[in-house]
């Protein structure tokens, strides 16, 4: 198969795809780098020449930079925690044989098919609205003062909404992992005298560790870029400004493309640090 000739042919045939992907990645990246060194204000004079590292220093020294990093990490961490914990529990539950299994499984997956903008709007208006929302009615039914979710508990609200969207993904992957567990291992541990909780801790959870790392890795990549949920709920107010939201504000609200691009470069660096960190854990976990 791998003769000199076939290898050359393979390279030629793969070239269009590789060139397309490279272009897709390199063009925006170089443009971002280019603009990050420019003083570029579209509505206030356009291209005002080179700026050196001024954009970079301005972006980091801005009072909203560190809070935005913290917010990003809180949202990513919170959503990961909720989706993994509840994903494992739901997967355990769905693995049990029960009546109407097919329908229940489809229902569980359903939130994943709802667009982020739509689900955020549904949550904001139907559940978390302080006068007409379901939660408000529930609170009032118990005689409590309804929570103004978007302002009083803005970060938890966003974490709940995003978790709701990503829970099906985690559940699905963890469910397939649970189904791949050898039943004889569970029976063996039962004979070895391990009660249900210890079977979970010593047999099921280690078996799931690989699937959990995959869930964490994939979700982190997507969660770092959460945007629509913030845009339609709080609009970045009440301490919900993430790094990606801050970049959006610099570019579109302040109309400062140079400053936004510098933020974009920081975002790339942050994502890469987290990616390398995760890859190490995953690599360790996938090895054995």
């Amino acid at each position: 198969m791998a003769t000199q000739h076939s290898r050359a042919a393979a390279r030629i045939m793969m070239a269009p795809a590789v060139i397309l992907l490279l272009g897709w990645m390199l063009v925006p990246l170089t443009m971002t780098l280019y603009f990050s060194f420019k003083n570029y204000l579209p509505l206030r004079g356009g291209d005002l020449g080179w700026a050196g590292f001024e954009n970079y220093t301005r972006f980091v020294t801005s009072s909203s930079f560190w809070p935005s990093i913290l917010t990003t990490l809180i949202i990513v961490g919170g959503v990961l925690f909720i989706t993994v914990v509840f994903g494992v529990l739901l997967a355990l539950l769905l693995d049990r044989p029960m009546w109407g299994q097919g329908i229940v499984r489809i229902l569980v997956i359903a939130p994943f098919f709802v667009m982020p903008t739509v689900s955020a709007l549904v949550w904001k208006n139907m559940f978390m609205d302080p006068t007409n929302g379901l939660f408000a009615h529930l609170w009032r039914a118990f005689g409590a003062q309804p929570v103004e979710w978007m302002s009083q508990a803005s970060l938890p609200s966003i974490i709940i909404i995003v978790s709701w969207q990503w829970l099906p993904f985690a559940t699905l992957i963890l469910l397939t992992a649970i189904q791949s567990l050898d039943g004889e291992q569970l029976e063996a541990s039962e004979m070895d005298g391990a009660p249900a909780l210890k079977r979970f801790w010593y047999i099921i959870l280690p078996h799931l560790s690989r699937a959990i790392t995959v869930v964490i890795l994939i979700q982190t990549i997507f969660l770092l870029a959460v945007f629509a949920e913030i845009f339609v709920t709080t609009g970045g107010a009440f301490g919900t400004k993430t790094l990606s939201y801050l970049i959006f504000q610099r570019v579109l609200e302040s109309q400062n493309i140079g400053l936004g691009s510098a933020g974009g470069v920081y975002a790339i660096i942050l994502a890469n640090i987290i990616a390398i960190f995760l890859m190490r854990i995953v690599g360790k976990n996938l090895d054995n």
Binding site: E184, A188, P206, H207
Partner: protein, 334 residues
Amino acid sequence: MGRITLDKVTKRFGDVEVIPPLDLTIEDGEFVVFVGPSGCGKSTLLRLIAGLEDVSGGQIRIDSKDATDLPPAKRGLAMVFQSYALYPHMSVRKNIAFPLKMAKMDQAEIDRRVDNAAKVLNLDSYIDRRPGQLSGGQRQRVAIGRAIVREPSAFLFDEPLSNLDAALRVGMRLEISELHERLKTTMVYVTHDQVEAMTMADKIVVLQAGVIEQVGSPLELYHTPRNKFVAGFIGSPKMNFIEGETAAQHGAHTIGIRPEHLTASATEGLWKGTVSVSEHLGSDTFLHVHETGLAESITVRVGGEFPVRHGDTVYLTPEADKIHRFDEKGLRIA
């Protein structure tokens, strides 16, 4: 102690009765083999004893105590599974220590027992590896090690050798037999391989469709099978069955004659036939003889060298006192 008594034990899956009421006593220290074709209920029976399946009726007593409703862990039995069921994320040492850890034994005692098991089974050299890095035979040893550290009153084996290659299987067979000699603990062993049953068992239980066809020592089963099923299942190659006139001459519906109880000759004999295939094993040669007018094919065991080829004529003579006679229902005529 490890005396297991099954009293009218029944198992139903929905409407299907897999095991009709069944009585069986396994004596302390005995090596009992459940053997039968696949789907005969032998594994189910073992799982009922282990407690991994609930009985639908009847009683299981272990050392004369009622164990019918006890959970598996409380029965004092240890099981070796077909897939070995080792815990892949734990080292061999941790695998073997697991049941002791679950029993909350103190660490010094755990170490002592694990080291002892490692010595008995020769697994010192790979005690810190994980199951994924071991060969089939090594995994098998670890699985047995995990069973013996608990010092159970009986061992249950569910087709433990079926995932090994032929050479290893013979070796492990011997090791398990030796282990039984050394530990003198009751062992219940499930297999579909009659050679394993014959070589290892003190007592063989032949099962078909959940019913016990016969219980007895290997040689009892070989010499006096109670019916046609047992006669055909025990012994390799299979017993030849002859019906019709020849059987009627012996006052039976069917007669059975084992390949090793037939003599073949190129010149004279009782029955004439044509050689179809001759299988040379070195020590023995098995002839498959066709066109005898008795049965479709008759298998004969002859000595190491017997110069016949495909299509040659051969004469067969049975040893008169080794003929088994069966009636219309397939039961032995004494």
